[in-house]
Symmetry: C2
């Protein structure tokens, strides 16, 4: 552990030029004699110099970092929810999608979790102070003050999933309603007569959109009403919801489940009830997560190109970081139906 790392000054001394010149060479600014150029690089190699990103950031006001903010309404340190969230492939897929773009641009990702009012304030403050060049926001709670806060704080931000309240913020989202409509039509096209739905919490935008898309499509085909049970996106809740649905509507022959994890649970409930899938009851899931292919029967599901969406969010953010005046924009991805065995 050498006592001190070489600085620009050291390199300059070795190269026999001024700090400024070394800085120019390193940052690839022309106006430097090619010969000196080489001398400087040699000195850099000799000293083992590595620029100090902190010092550089302080003056350039650029950090080469974007923050991934996971906003939760009120998380306590030992809240099991967070561990549930991280264990869900959703989180990893988002990170993977983001990194696929960020890595190529030499940008690093800093993870920030924020739950309290106090935490949100500090976060926005830090962000404005150049803690990061911009932020990707994953907003979990149905209504979250954070999107508005970052916008008002002038922090470059792109959300994944649309904000619940109207806020002038860029975002990348999935056409959840179209996806649900796809599911409805597939079930209907298969000849199902009594089709139920297992939804997520109604106050979450994505979940709400899936319900309304399904409803609209069903209505168009003459099913103004359909059995609906609500879960919370966990497998257990899906199992429970399916039992409820089955108890109240024994004649059910089709079901749209708002995510694959709940579909997994629903599959179990159906099996326990002695119903064949897709023979007795056809099922369409949502997300095309790894759970869909792991299920037996493999799930027919709506593909949610999460990695692509996250990558797009990163691209959008990077563009905004480069050009702050870029107008707020949103990109909506169209989901597709993936037919497997369950419907």
């Amino acid at each position: 552990m050498p006592s001190r790392l070489p600085t620009l000054e050291d390199v300059a001394r070795v190269a026999g030029v001024s700090r400024a010149t070394v800085s120019r060479v390193i940052n690839g600014i022309r106006n430097v004699d090619p010969q000196l150029h080489e001398v400087v690089w040699n000195a850099v190699g000799e000293t083992g110099y590595v620029p100090n990103r902190l010092a550089r950031s302080l003056v350039t006001r650029r950090t080469g970092t974007v923050a991934l903010i996971v906003s939760d309404s009120e998380t306590h340190d030992d809240d099991p929810f967070m561990s549930r969230f991280f264990a869900d492939p959703y989180f990893g897929r988002v990170v993977g999608g983001l990194m696929s773009v960020l890595r190529g641009n030499g940008v690093q990702l800093a993870l920030q979790i924020v739950g309290t009012e106090e935490g949100r304030k500090r976060l926005v403050g830090d962000l404005r102070n150049g803690q990061a060049d911009g932020a990707i926001l994953l907003s979990l709670p149905p209504v979250d003050p954070l999107p508005r806060m970052v916008v008002e704080g002038g922090v470059q931000t792109v959300m994944i999933g649309r904000p619940a309240e109207p806020v002038p913020i860029s975002y990348v989202d999935l056409a959840n309603d179209t996806g649900a409509a796809l599911a409805a039509e597939h079930l209907l096209g298969r000849g199902c007569r009594t089709i139920g739905m297992i939804s997520g919490p109604a106050d979450v935008p994505a979940s709400n959109d899936r319900i309304s898309g399904f409803r609209r499509s069903m209505a168009r085909h003459g099913h103004a009403w359909f059995p609906l049970a609500t879960g919370n996106f966990t497998r257990e809740s899906g199992e429970l919801a399916m039992r409820t649905l089955l108890a109240e509507h024994p004649d059910l022959d089709g079901v749209f489940v708002a995510n694959d994890l709940m579909a997994l649970g629903a599959l179990l409930a159906l099996r326990d009830a002695g119903r064949q899938v897709p023979g007795d009851v056809a099922m369409v899931g949502f997300d095309d997560s790894s759970a869909a292919t792991a299920a037996r029967p493999a799930l027919t599901t709506i593909r949610h190109p999460l990695e692509d969406m996250a990558a797009e969010a990163a691209t959008l953010l990077l563009a905004r970081v480069d050009d702050a005046d870029r107008p707020v924009s949103s990109v909506i991805y169209e989901p597709t139906l993936v037919v497997r065995q369950s419907a």
Copy 2:
């Protein structure tokens, strides 16, 4: 978007004191008149001042950030491997465990992925320069120069999983061999006569330990040899390995699968072959991931307390950051057997 954020200077002016005094108050250093104390805090509130972490870090040499390094041997930008890795709950569980400790200490996590030689060099350089106070290292490739590099660079680091080569580095690991022995004994105790194993790649330390632990335990019970098939920890590979095993040893009545994901695949292969689990073939998995409870039959498996291990790694790292002279240490977690339906 105000043109300029308030600085210490501004607060000092408003409060009518010097920069130094404001700094003292904000950092809670005593020796400040309580009355002035209040005046300063009021000024802070009035100006909406937030300390600039970058500037602070530059002088304190503390960033309040630890890096999570995912080291891969040779990743190209569009390598599908990485997306597979992120989609695996393993990654999220690690992040969740780390965050549970870091959050409480106001430390943020910066994600770094490194694949090339060039990238490793730059990473270590940045780390030494105080890009982060320390690093948590997730080393994927069987043999990775990075552990040695960080140690030699004097970067505080804790690995999750032991290094493949002997390097004086702190790490947190699971007693993989004990876990495998647990599985062997459970299968044996159940009365299985012909027990096979589906392992991961033999050059990965964790995988190797599971093989040797299983082998040792089997040998102790008179099974000097047992059928072994190798997979790569994916579900598909587990399915394939199971088919192979079954083809070569039709009398198999027990199998230990080195992770739950492969066990899931093995379960499918068994079903396709018309074997009942656990009736005809008993199965023990490894990890106690969400896949274990989602499987039917639910998997008897070895619990891998990954979140706790990650949390321990974070704790260890934080301690080393506070006291750089702390000796290198390692913590080994003992796995436990979770009995469900499959064995």
